[in-house]
Amino acid sequence: MSDVNTNYLYLIVFAALIGETDIEVNLSSIIPAYSEYVTVLLGIAGTKAVLIAMFYQHLRYEPKSLSTWVIIGLVIASLLMGLSFVQLHVGH
């Protein structure tokens, strides 16, 4: 991909990130139900993170071994966050 095309790609990703942020801020008026609202909100945040990792951190163009390495970190972090919910259920 040429430099010019790459720069356009960065701008498109930026526009997508801003657009998603705008949707996040106005989402409560679109989805009134709280649990659905939280789910969609965190889903949008997740897609923003993926966009940044794939295109700004160039993870899309890195070898699969590196992507796997990063995913392992994310899985451990998710497990740690999940533990708090497990503790919640045990506690109650």
Partner: protein
């Protein structure tokens, strides 16, 4: 680094109440100081690490042959950071789901502030990646402008954040909303320290760029900085909805 963090938080947790009425808390300061000192030593050692080893003739298959050692080191560091912030966000979820008196979205933390900081940080990510693109294209003025923009936007983020902190502190937020406030200040404070560290790196890169570095194919340092800066952005992408919108 993880051990230093463990010692630091251990010092916070094994303290004892200093005063029963009004309730105040006395952390165990020696352990906290040990954690800080260990953390500084670890970071210093990390900065001097070249990630170069002399391999024997007979070694196991190495899956990262195509990845430069320094880049793998940065990603490993970011992996540790993911776990670190994961713990903070996990504790937020735990406190949040246990606290029946958590204030509704927009009442304690101003959504406009969060929105402004998100826009500023996302834009700083764009300028950071444009700095790398400029360096690859050999465009020195573009590189300097992009790095300068990243620095200014980072400062703007911290300026808005500081305003919010002082405003909340002035409103005695700890007395009325102790758990939300504690969770907010620890998490956003840790993130703010990361932003500040990124700004220090930007100053170093900017000084080198002005001297003419990075535009002759030697832009790997910029790439590594970008990995860190975008990671800080990703963390905020989650903190914004968690504290301001939910």
């Amino acid at each position: 680094m993880a051990f230093a963090t463990f010692i630091f938080f251990l010092g916070l947790t094994i303290g004892k109440p200093a005063n029963p009425q009004p309730v105040s808390y006395q952390p165990f300061w020696p352990l906290i100081a040990d954690g800080v000192i260990l953390g500084i030593i670890s970071l210093f050692g990390y900065s001097r690490e070249t990630f170069t080893v002399h391999e024997d003739m007979q070694v196991e298959s190495w899956p990262f042959k195509q990845v430069p050692n320094m880049k793998l080191g940065i990603w490993t560091f970011l992996g540790a950071e993911v776990i670190f912030f994961g713990v903070l966000i996990g504790s937020y979820f735990f406190v949040r789901t246990n606290d029946a008196a958590w204030p509704p979205a927009g009442t304690l933390f101003d959504i406009r502030n969060g929105f402004a900081m998100t826009l500023v940080l996302l834009t700083s990510s764009l300028t950071a990646i444009m700095a790398l693109a400029s360096a690859r294209a050999g465009n020195r003025s573009g590189l300097i402008a992009s790095l300068g923009g990243t620095l200014i936007l980072g400062a703007a983020f911290l300026y808005i954040k500081a305003g919010e902190w002082f405003s909340l502190g002035g409103n005695h937020v700890f007395q009325n909303y102790s758990l939300p406030a504690t969770s907010y200040f620890i998490t956003t404070g840790t993130h703010g320290v990361h932003v500040f560290a990124g700004m220090c790196m930007t100053v170093y890169l900017l000084a080198n760029a002005i001297k003419g570095k990075y535009v002759n194919g030697d832009h790997t340092t910029l790439e590594h900085f970008g990995l860190y800066w975008h990671f800080v952005d990703i963390v905020w992408v989650f903190l914004f909805p968690l504290f301001y919108l939910i």
